[in-house]
């Protein structure tokens, strides 16, 4: 195999190696693109002040420099959406007169309207009125932001309390409407009345907190000389982009990465985090595995060990193999028709009739999406399990039977443990496929923005009927459905990278488990 190939062999070697080179090149390009863009998404950029020939002055991050025949073009992120209406500009370099990098320019990340770039100009709040940039202002700003964070936390807690109380109250009212009588009715009415006053108290508490927060403002000076007052509650962090050293930039990077992983998305997904999508993806894959693994293993065991081997079994095997090649959207449509309309509709009719015409299970949700994907990945699990079962030697099976074990005892105690590595291999493949699938999800329960996670502190904790977010769909949404595609680009690549990392992590877990089992259940060496 080494250098022994003769001259006549050199052409096939060249042709085949060309194939390999092409494949590696393309894979390398994809990985490089996603890695470089995904990893760079949160890296704080420098702010440049650009003086244009028409006299206007801009401040922003230069995201890209494109070469054109007429000179270069710049993609400049200027932020300040509420003032300019457009936070990303395309500029011809020929229009540019001068470019400087002002040391004290600052980028402010906000909850609303994207980033704001400019210079710190003042801070106002109860008993505080600072103006002009300086150490005093910056110190005070940091302290105020900490206070705002506490206040924001308090606000969220209050909102959560109010939401729960309203939920309980809704249930009590529902009971009352159903016509509860006697003592119980009086008790319920009392509860509803009491919760009403408590809700009102919570609301007024919320109002006063909001009012207190609204008193705080950060004043910013923009590149064109104007000023803007930013409500301090909206400010997430301020970054002195041009002053930061490598360490400072790394700090900002990590903080942004942390937000990305742990926060909810905002501004129609172009900012904030993807935590609900991570959660939805992982939960859906888990639910899918819970459904697909037992069903697939049961099917395979019957086909391999119980069914009389013959034409029918051969046909079924062939059919299962071919099922793996059915386009995923077809499974999605089946899921919509069977699970959502038929199964979900019947469920609603029997169990949730009082909520109709509002559907509970009769609309897309994480349960139906998981089951649809389970159906999609079932052939993979079945085929892999069949192979795993076939790999358990007949001698081992005979040994169990010869000891007086029943067929089921043999399967459960001897065959299945030995086939476990094969079964897990199937599950790995299924998980990889399910985690990256988007098309069938779009019609079975994925949404752009889910109001709440499918798992939370409200009874019954796991809400299988809820719609959910998914990283694959999130990528599609960011790339093609976003109102601000340019602004969504860094998030897009970061999300793609994250999805790959999650699939890799899920696979790695299964592979480690499989290798461990292989060690435990190694086949006899003799």
């Amino acid at each position: 195999m080494k250098a022994a190939s003769s001259a006549r062999d050199s052409v096939p070697v060249m042709v085949t190696s060309l194939g390999l080179v092409l494949v590696l090149l393309m894979l390398g390009m994809v990985i490089w693109l996603i890695l470089s863009r995904g990893l760079a998404a949160f890296w704080p950029q420098r702010l440049d002040r650009l003086e244009m020939k028409d006299g206007s002055v801009l401040l922003g991050e230069v995201w890209e420099r494109m070469a054109t025949p007429e000179g270069g073009r710049l993609r400049l992120r200027v932020g300040n959406r509420e003032l300019t209406g457009q936070d990303i500009l395309l500029l011809d370099e020929s229009e540019l007169r001068a470019s400087t990098r002002p040391q004290d320019a600052v980028l402010v990340e906000r909850n609303e309207n994207g980033v704001f770039v400019g210079w710190l100009d003042g801070l106002s709040g109860p008993g505080v009125a600072l103006s002009g940039d300086g150490p005093a202002l910056r110190e005070r700003l940091d302290a105020s932001l900490d206070a705002m964070e506490d206040l924001d936390g308090a606000l969220r807690d209050l909102q959560e309390d109010a939401r729960r109380l309203a939920l309980k109250r809704g249930r009590w009212e529902e009971k009352l409407e159903q016509g509860t009588q006697g003592d119980e009715r009086a008790q319920l009415e009392g509860r509803v009345a009491e919760s009403g006053t408590r809700l009102a108290a919570l609301e007024s508490q919320l109002d006063s907190l909001r009012a207190a927060a609204d008193l705080w403002h950060l004043r910013m000076r923009t590149a064109d000389g104007g000023t803007a007052e930013l409500p301090l509650l909206q400010v997430v962090r301020w970054v002195p982009a041009n002053e930061l050293g490598p360490l400072g930039r790394t700090g900002v990077y990590l903080a942004r990465l942390w937000d990305f992983l742990g926060e909810e998305p905002r501004e129609s997904n172009t900012a904030g985090g993807v935590w609900p999508a991570i959660f939805g993806t992982v939960l859906m894959v888990l639910l899918m595995s819970l459904a697909a693994a037992p069903l697939g293993v049961m099917t395979a065991v019957y086909l391999h060990d119980y069914a009389r081997q013959g034409v029918v079994v051969r046909i079924i095997r062939l059919a299962v193999n071919n099922l793996a090649g059915v386009p995923s959207i077809v499974f999605g449509i089946f899921g919509l028709g069977f699970f959502i309309y038929f199964a979900g509709g019947s469920l609603d009719g029997t169990l949730f009739a009082n909520r109709l015409p509002e559907p509970t299970f009769g609309t897309g949700g994480i349960l139906w999406a998981s089951l649809t994907l389970a159906l999609l990945t079932l052939p993979v699990v079945v085929v892999a399990t069949l192979e795993g079962l076939a790999a358990v030697s007949p001698a081992t099976r005979m040994a169990a039977l010869a000891l007086g074990a029943t067929r089921w005892q043999m399967i459960r105690q001897v065959v299945l443990p030995n086939a476990m590595p094969g079964i897990l291999t199937g599950l790995i493949l299924a998980v990889s496929r399910a985690a990256g699938e988007v098309a069938p999800l779009m019609i079975t329960g994925v949404v752009k923005l889910a109001p709440s996670l499918a798992l939370d502190g409200d009874f019954p904790f796991l809400h299988l009927e809820r719609k959910f977010m998914h990283l694959g769909f999130h990528i599609y949404d960011l790339g093609f459905q976003s109102p601000n595609v340019e602004a969504a680009k860094p998030m897009l690549f970061a999300t793609a990278l994250l999805l790959i990392v999650i699939v890799l992590a899920l696979n790695l877990t299964a592979i480690l488990m499989r290798n461990h089992l292989r060690k435990v259940y190694k086949q006899a060496a003799f």
Partner: protein, 269 residues
């Protein structure tokens, strides 16, 4: 009543008493689809003796052996005809539970086939399958059986270790211990030493000699010296027929049949 080929047990002086019958086969035929591999064998195996089946490859000796615990049932195209009684019980009778039959008639295979479980769990597997849950009882069974196959001293410190880490000979002895653990009266051994080196083979043979007083042992072997060394009785099978069945010493010194003589003197097979 059919005339059965029953060995002249009264000539044995070391055993003294006449023996009861462990396995009584009458007109046993085995068919693989349209072809017949065992042609109507009548045979009576004495209890607590070692009987060896010898004969060239494909003569049906392993097939016949597998009839006694109905392992042939597992082969879809295989059909067994005739009557087989194990300690007086017709094993093909409708109400017979296979699990109980196999508890009575244990089997050791040509290739050692321990489960990929611990040594302890291998031996305890059979009793557990038959409902034994008591830990002390299981401990006792495991110890007794491992001692019986002379493996206890070698493995007592690593009972929880994998059975697959044992040597080939140890694995085969473990398989014998595993078969003994369910308390069979009859032990079928299908060329139990053919995959082992001479030293391990010797140990298995010693083991058979030690177990002969407790169990009815039927051993299929290719090795005529082995049959001569370990067995009390030998049956010579050829092309699906029982050619000769006699005391081992008689069969090997004064065979009554020409074919037997040819086979044991190495003229064919």
């Amino acid at each position: 009543m059919m005339e059965l080929k029953k060995p002249e047990v009264t000539q044995r002086e070391d055993m003294g008493t006449t023996t009861e019958t462990a396995v009584l086969a009458q007109g046993v035929e085995v068919w693989y689809g349209p072809s017949r591999s065992v042609h109507g064998i009548d045979l009576c195996l004495p209890a607590r003796r070692v009987t060896a089946f010898i004969g060239p490859s494909g003569c049906g000796k392993s097939t016949l052996l597998r009839c006694f615990n109905r392992m042939n049932d597992l082969i879809p195209a295989c059909a067994v005809k005739g009557s087989i009684q194990v300690h007086g019980m017709d094993i093909h009778a409708p109400g017979v539970a296979l699990e109980e039959l196999r508890r009575e008639v244990g089997m050791v295979f040509q290739k050692s086939n321990p489960f990929s479980k611990s040594i302890y769990d291998n031996v305890a597997y059979g009793p557990r399958v038959h409902g034994q849950k008591d830990h002390h009882q299981l401990d006792e069974i495991v110890e007794t059986c491992l001692k019986r196959v002379a493996l206890w001293d070698e493995v007592k410190d690593r009972l929880k270790g994998s059975a697959l880490d044992l040597s080939g000979g140890q694995q085969q002895r473990l398989c014998i211990a595993r078969a003994l653990a369910v308390g069979p009266r009859i032990l079928l051994m299908d060329e139990p030493a053919s995959a082992l080196d001479p030293r391990s083979t010797g140990r298995i043979e010693d083991l058979i000699t030690e177990l002969r007083d407790l169990y009815t042992i039927v051993i299929v072997t290719h090795n005529m010296q082995q049959a001569a060394r370990v067995s009390d009785y030998t049956a010579f099978l050829y092309e699906g027929n029982l050619v000769e069945f006699n005391e081992t010493q008689r069969l090997f010194t004064k065979p009554e049949n020409e074919q037997t003589n040819d086979y044991i003197t190495g003229r064919f097979g």
